[in-house]
């Protein structure tokens, strides 16, 4: 099972980024292997539709679940259309979240948790 964790950095020690569409990094981890891949999010600067773009990026990696802080309505719709489970309210480091996920301590949600533009950077 493959998951994507939104992160402030590119390692297991990095903090979770609470934004989905405009997180700094996507960290991909797999229960079947010890492979880890971190991708810098190209959608941070997008003026609109960052959640949709990020949703497609993550879907393209064939993940089963996304672990993040919050997810907006457009990203939610995109992820669900791709059949990806969404787990929100995750905090701490990527490594801690990964352990919790593997121990089945995290549960997917049934709807988006924030409005559009939640992750827009402050001026």
């Amino acid at each position: 099972m493959k998951v994507c964790i939104t992160s402030r950095g590119d390692s297991l020690e990095s903090e979770i980024d609470p934004r989905f569409g405009r997180c700094e990094y996507f960290v991909f981890l797999d229960t079947e292997s010890s492979d880890m891949e971190a991708i810098k999010n190209p959608n941070i600067i997008s003026s609109g539709g960052a959640g949709i773009q990020s949703g497609q990026l993550v879907a393209g990696k064939q993940v089963n679940a996304v672990l993040t802080g919050n997810v907006g309505p457009n990203a939610w719709q995109t992820l669900r259309a791709a059949g990806i489970e969404v787990i929100i309210g995750v905090s701490g480091t990527v490594g801690q979240a990964w352990e919790k996920f593997k121990n089945k301590e995290l549960k997917p949600v049934k709807g988006p948790s924030v409005d559009s533009k939640f992750g827009m950077p402050a001026e």
Binding site: S46, G48, I52, Q56, A59, N74, A81
Partner: protein
Amino acid sequence: MIIAVASGKGGTGKTTLAVSLALSLPNVQLLDCDVEEPNAHLFLNPLFAEKSEAVIPVPVIDEEKCTFCGRCKEVCAFNALAVLPGAEGKKGSILFFENLCHGCGACRFLCPQQAITERDRRIGVVEAGTVGELKFAHGRLDIGEAMAPPLVRQLKKQIDQERTVIIDAPPGTSCPVVTSITEADFCLLVSEPTPFGLNDLILAVEVLRKLGIPFGVVLNRADLGDEKTDEYCRQEDITIMMRIPFDKRIAAAYSRGLPLVTAMPEYRQKFEELFQKIKDKISK
């Protein structure tokens, strides 16, 4: 001739100026292009004879023809489409987010399968009418809509070249402003001599220089604030075309929905002189 009235900062007096200038000159058409919050009609009480819906074309995707190749989402500059390719026998899916769509038509035009047609999506209305001899039109964006430029473009189709056209632009320096003032022969930038007024005036000047539209400044509440706006205009060789002092009578008239020239007819001559200055600037 098209004269646009714009400003960087909001609340500097664009509508006050545009309405009174329109009422002071013969053979004028006034367009209120601030479609997100039009207010010129509050001072004019026009009789609207025409009302038309403003629409943008948005894609309708035939999922039978779609191969989920992703070309449409690649060409969409506004991320309004998501394409999720199918995998292992599972059909792909395509999502359309209509609030992000600007109606440019690129997806329909470039779809290799010709799987996209279009339908009209309403974004607001254009209303046109008269106030005595003055022609007036404005646009009203529907609540919750974010696409001002297509509505402004539709409103600008009302332009009557036989008349002196005055455009009351939205505040700021973003797309709705650029759409409103493009094609203007001259732009009046209304500002006030405060730090905020100056900061936003500088941004507006940059936009106008980029667009190549001749412009001048009208300084409202000109006797308040500081000297920095005057200094800036001197340094940048920008003409201050008119100064309107801070006057409680002007504020009182505004609060009652009375145009400045109606409440204080002595201003008519000042607006006529302003118009003459604009004509002189254009003919130079």
